[in-house]
């Protein structure tokens, strides 16, 4: 049917290498989410603080993250910061680039979630004598995280997909990097990337699934 000789065996020989790459991909995605959520939390607090400068930082961050390509952001982290003498390894550049993107999108999600939490929740907490920080930490934040759980899952999937952009900063140990390295050597483009696609698909499904299980455990109310 096809006038093309598939050489699956040759490509499948590289499977162990690609699976190792997949581990790196997961690692970056998970770390970038942890960092992204932490930063988003801080940016959210900045916005809530009512301080003009702090909310301007949040706004700038969110708008740049949401309105420029992720590829651009990662490239900027590596070569843009490089221009100022800040040198980040490909791994760090990719991680920080994705975390930057995550933080921007998540902050926006948190904003939506906060709107859905009635004002009386904070008021109740404050009237019990809690400080603003305590009220946020124990009352508002848990609810916010629950409401944004689905968007966070989506962002996690995005983070996985974004790792494929690492090639622009010479990242070669993640799944995409390993695959394109192999491709540069053997030129079995279709076979190699088809296998990578299947791995990516399974990764994202695994994430969605485990997120669902996690949600069932975490949110029993």
């Amino acid at each position: 049917m096809f006038n093309y000789n598939f050489r699956w065996n040759q490509a499948l020989d590289s499977l162990p290498q690609m699976l190792e790459g997949a581990l790196v991909t997961i690692e970056i995605a998970v770390l970038s989410m942890v960092i992204g959520i932490s930063i988003a939390m801080v940016l959210t607090l900045f916005r809530l603080s009512g301080n003009r400068v702090l909310s301007a930082i949040t706004t700038t961050w969110v708008e740049i993250a949401r309105n420029t390509p992720a590829l651009f952001q990662i490239y900027m982290v590596h070569f843009g910061l490089g221009g100022f003498g800040i040198h980040l390894s490909p791994y760090m550049s990719l991680l920080i680039g994705i975390a930057f993107n995550n933080a921007g999108y998540l902050t926006e999600n948190f904003r939506g979630a906060l709107k859905a939490i009635p004002d009386t929740q904070t008021r109740s907490a404050r009237s019990l004598g809690m400080t603003p920080i305590q009220a946020f930490q124990h009352v508002v934040m848990p609810q916010m995280l629950r409401i944004s759980f689905l968007p966070m899952t989506n962002q996690m999937v995005w983070a996985i997909l974004m790792t494929s952009l690492g090639a622009v900063v010479a990242m070669n140990t993640d799944l995409y990097g390993v695959t394109s390295d192999l491709n540069a050597r053997t030129f079995r483009t279709f076979e190699l990337f088809a296998i990578a696609a299947v791995i990516f698909y399974l990764l994202t499904k695994a994430i969605t699934l485990s997120a669902r299980l996690l949600a069932a455990r975490l949110f029993r109310y």
Partner: protein, 247 residues
């Protein structure tokens, strides 16, 4: 076959890498120029068709050929045996020697100084494969494959890389251009000269034969030396024959 197809279609589509001066780059109007671009034009003229330059990156030139988006690649492609399983090579049309280029802030006396350093090269090139092998052999240091030559030199100039290996021509051109402050040529890389050839699809013997003869003619007519002088400078162009063996 392909040879007939090209002549019939009236255009020769060449993959050329355009961030690889002096072999391929862009002029102030962003038009493609360079040794490879001229070679593409010469080949097209010989065939009696018009040339069309398709820009590709190093990693992308073979996929572009395989996908039929170009007819040949005039893209300084090293004639490795691994690649020959996939594409068909002509006889060499140029030979590079490679140099080690380092950031000025890095202490490095000779090429062995790269041991343990952060080094990089353009993904998918001859020198990248060599360098990655070396780093593995040394067991220390880090190797980074960037997507194109420009990113490599940018990283080197910013100090993100300690050193790179590139062809002497590229190294000299980049040092001379002043575009990348803070880099220096350290040493020759101890590699077998990097013979590069024109490539097309593996089964296109007619075209490969034609390209062999074309390369031979370029040397014979002095065009090779002329273009060398135009793009590389004074000196003797690389010898394309290898003593003691045919082809």
């Amino acid at each position: 076959d392909k040879l007939d197809d090209i002549i019939a279609s009236g255009t020769l589509r060449c993959a050329v890498v355009l961030d690889f001066p002096p072999m391929g780059s862009r002029d102030a109007d962003n038009n493609p120029i360079g040794f490879d671009v001229d070679y593409c034009s010469d080949l097209a003229a010989a065939l009696g068709v018009t040339p069309e330059v398709v820009e590709t990156t190093f990693p992308e030139r073979i996929p572009a050929l395989m996908s039929g988006r170009v007819d040949v690649a005039v893209a300084s492609t090293s004639d490795t045996l691994e690649r020959a399983k996939t594409v068909g090579f002509s006889i060499p049309y140029y030979a590079f020697e490679n140099a080690v280029v380092a950031n000025e802030g890095v202490e490095m006396a000779n090429w062995e100084g790269m041991k343990g350093k952060t080094v990089g090269a353009t993904a998918g090139t001859y020198e990248a494969i060599w360098l990655e092998g070396k780093v593995k052999e040394w067991g220390e240091g880090e190797f980074r494959p960037y997507q194109n030559q420009a990113d490599v030199f940018l990283a080197l100039s910013q100090g993100q890389l300690d050193a790179t290996v590139s062809t002497v021509e590229v190294a000299e051109a980049n040092v001379a251009s002043g575009n990348f402050p803070g880099i220096k040529i350290v040493d020759k890389a101890p590699m077998v000269p990097d013979y590069v050839a024109l490539i097309t699809l593996r089964e296109e013997y007619g075209l490969i034969n034609y390209m062999d003869l074309f390369i031979n003619q370029q040397v014979r007519t002095g065009r090779y030396a002329e273009l060398y002088k135009k793009w590389v400078g004074e000196g003797v162009p690389a010898d394309l024959t290898i003593p003691g063996v045919y082809r």
